[in-house]
């Protein structure tokens, strides 16, 4: 492939991604009920975090393992819930798009075109990230307000960096799930189960560091399992930059950045291999309407 062809392919893919994002944003703008539902979901999440923070204290082991004080519990939960909005990006956005496109037959119309499959799959992930970012920002401002760091530019800058890294890592994870959706039809029930487990394991509600305090053997297994996912490091780093050096991370901070990159890359590689399988399956059996 010549440099010129690569340039054309890249700009064409970029255009497909852009048009896909435009499609999804137009869709959501015209589907107002979904917008309201989203807003309600976010408000309920924050409310729940506030109630949790008010009535719960971490047990001594959790406090020792993480260094979080009991009066920071709201920020801990709210941060976890706010960041969890991006798990939709990983699990639901590409999965939903692929399932819908298979169901209505649109996937055939896409697959018969010369467009890049990856570009087509990237667009729902990115549009969902943009939408989630719109909903994340109010929660984020509230969290910063409660934490008293609205004007602390170091905390604002570093936590926003982690949010962006979360989105990037979710792209890899999202691609992986989109491929699974084509390979394993009716994956939705599995995805619902995985979404809940996934958030818990990665430390959205209970710090991964504290698993070991809940159960020695099970906690250790879960802890190692959590380390496969980029999301674990996103939660951990977000909290580190929010709470400062008083918060004990799973690994040294620089190693967490490396692990975040490596685990994201791992899912990109897995997604690539799954794409090959998807292409083969599509050729063997067709992309029939469900």
């Amino acid at each position: 492939m010549s440099v010129q062809n690569i340039k054309v392919a890249f700009s064409s893919s970029l255009r497909v991604v852009g048009k896909g994002i435009w499609r999804d944003l137009v869709n959501i703008r015209r589907y107002k009920l979904r917008l309201i539902g989203w807003l309600l979901n976010m408000s309920i999440g924050l409310g729940a975090a506030y109630i949790f923070g008010f009535i719960l204290n971490f047990n001594p082991i959790t406090t020792t393992e993480t260094g979080i004080l009991s009066n920071q519990v709201f920020v801990f939960f709210a941060g976890g819930i706010a960041l969890s909005t991006f798990s939709d990006t990983a699990l639901w956005a590409p999965l939903g798009r692929v399932e819908q496109d298979i169901h209505y037959g649109t996937l055939e119309a896409v697959f018969v075109s010369p467009t890049s499959r990856i570009a087509y799959l990237l667009s729902p992930i990115l549009s969902d990230s943009i939408l989630n970012l719109l909903f994340f920002i109010p929660s984020y401002v509230i969290i910063l307000g409660v934490h008293g760091s609205l004007t602390n530019f170091y905390i604002v800058g570093t936590t926003l960096l982690i949010v962006l890294l979360t989105i990037v890592s979710m792209i890899a994870f999202g691609l992986f799930f989109a491929m699974l959706a084509i390979l394993i039809r009716r994956i939705q029930p599995i995805a619902i189960f995985l979404a809940n487990i996934f958030q818990f394991i990665c430390g959205a509600f209970v710090p991964v560091q504290a698993f070991i305090g809940m159960n020695q053997t099970g906690g250790t297994i879960l802890k190692y399992f959590a380390q496969i996912f980029p999301y674990t490091y996103c939660y951990d780093l977000f909290r580190y930059f929010m709470f400062g050096s008083g918060y004990t991370t799973l690994f040294p901070v620089w190693i967490e950045f490396v692990l975040l990159a490596v685990s994201s890359l791992l899912f990109v590689v897995l997604a690539y291999f799954l794409l090959k399988r998807v292409e083969k399956k599509a050729k063997d059996t067709g992309l029939a309407i469900l």
Partner: protein
């Protein structure tokens, strides 16, 4: 050059429980600029064949060349130059986007420039008079209007060859006629090759230059619709009796004994009789009718494409016998 060349194409669907042989060595050639029809009963392999040619499915064996390009080795190039209108594709749009927005999205998939898209949209508007389909959200359009958008999507990037799988399936006659006239006008004007399947015989007869009949995964006949119909030697006389008239056994017996009448069948108030010499049969039958004081409505027809279809695809019916 042929727009499509298929030699010995085989396709077997494999699942854990069984293997299904959908195509069993299919051979076909379609010339450039032709509107080519593929007829066949359900499960004959029409859609499988169309999907193989449009790079959506892989073949098990054989050779397929689309616009001179190998369907396996040069699939990316083929995708740039073909259009595809799938079966049941009326729903395959983005419901909350307008017709124009839907086309705009797919134009991006084909890397069309804004100018080219605008020009193509104007072309569509010249050929399809109902312009509201472009500005309304697709979810607010009728089935026929949605299908029009899907058909336009197939022609959007100005492809050299369009595969159309049952484009008017499930549409009312008016909507189907609109789609047909769009395809006919647009394809003829632009000199496009179209390979289409349909279960509607009149559609194939109206649109197609040549027709192939596929039965059990093989092509069993290829020719122009007229030649195929001429080949089925049917001359049929039909009598519809008035409500006050009855076909007595004597009357039926007398008609059946005529030399020019091969057989008399009584179906839904009609008397249908394959004849060998239509004018002689007509005269003789009218004479018997006058004798029994019967004044029926008489019609005469030769073979239709439906008869051709039945000849090749329904082994139980032997129309010529």
């Amino acid at each position: 050059m042929y727009a499509l060349e298929a030699k010995g194409v085989k396709k077997t669907y494999k699942s854990r429980k069984k293997e299904t042989e959908a195509l069993k060595g299919l051979n076909l050639q379609v010339k450039e600029g032709e509107i080519f029809g593929i007829l066949g009963p359900n499960g004959a392999g029409k859609t499988t064949f169309i999907k193989i040619c449009s790079t959506l499915l892989g073949k098990t064996d054989g050779e397929v060349k689309v616009l001179g390009l190998d369907v396996v080795k040069e699939e990316k190039e083929i995708r740039k130059r073909i259009g595809y209108i799938g079966q049941d594709s009326e729903r395959s749009t983005y419901a909350r986007l307008t017709g124009k927005e839907n086309l705009e999205f797919f134009a991006a998939l084909y890397n069309m420039s804004k100018d080219d898209f605008a020009k193509q949209l104007e072309e569509f508007k010249k050929t399809y008079d109902n312009h509201e389909i472009f500005d309304k959200e697709v979810m607010r359009l009728s089935g026929g209007q949605k299908q029009a958008i899907v058909v336009m999507r197939g022609f959007l990037h100005n492809p050299d060859l369009v595969f159309a799988d049952e484009i008017s399936k499930g549409l009312d006659p008016i909507a189907a006629k609109k789609i047909r006239s769009f395809v006919k006008d647009y394809a003829k004007k632009k000199g496009k090759t179209i390979i289409m399947t349909s279960q509607i015989m009149s559609e194939i007869e109206e649109l197609c230059d040549r027709v192939a009949i596929i039965f059990e995964g093989k092509v069993v006949a290829v020719d122009t619709p007229q030649n195929l119909m001429d080949d089925v030697n049917i001359q049929l006389l039909e009598l519809r009796l008035r409500s006050t008239e009855t076909a007595t056994p004597e009357f039926l017996q007398e008609i059946a004994t005529l030399d020019s009448v091969k057989e008399v069948k009584q179906e839904n108030g009609y008397l249908r009789m394959p004849v060998s010499d239509s004018s002689q049969a007509f005269e003789s039958v009218m004479e018997i009718c006058r004798k029994y004081n019967i004044n029926p409505v008489i019609s005469y027809r030769t073979a239709t494409l439906e008869d051709v279809f039945l000849k090749y695809c329904d082994k139980k019916v032997d129309l010529e016998a």
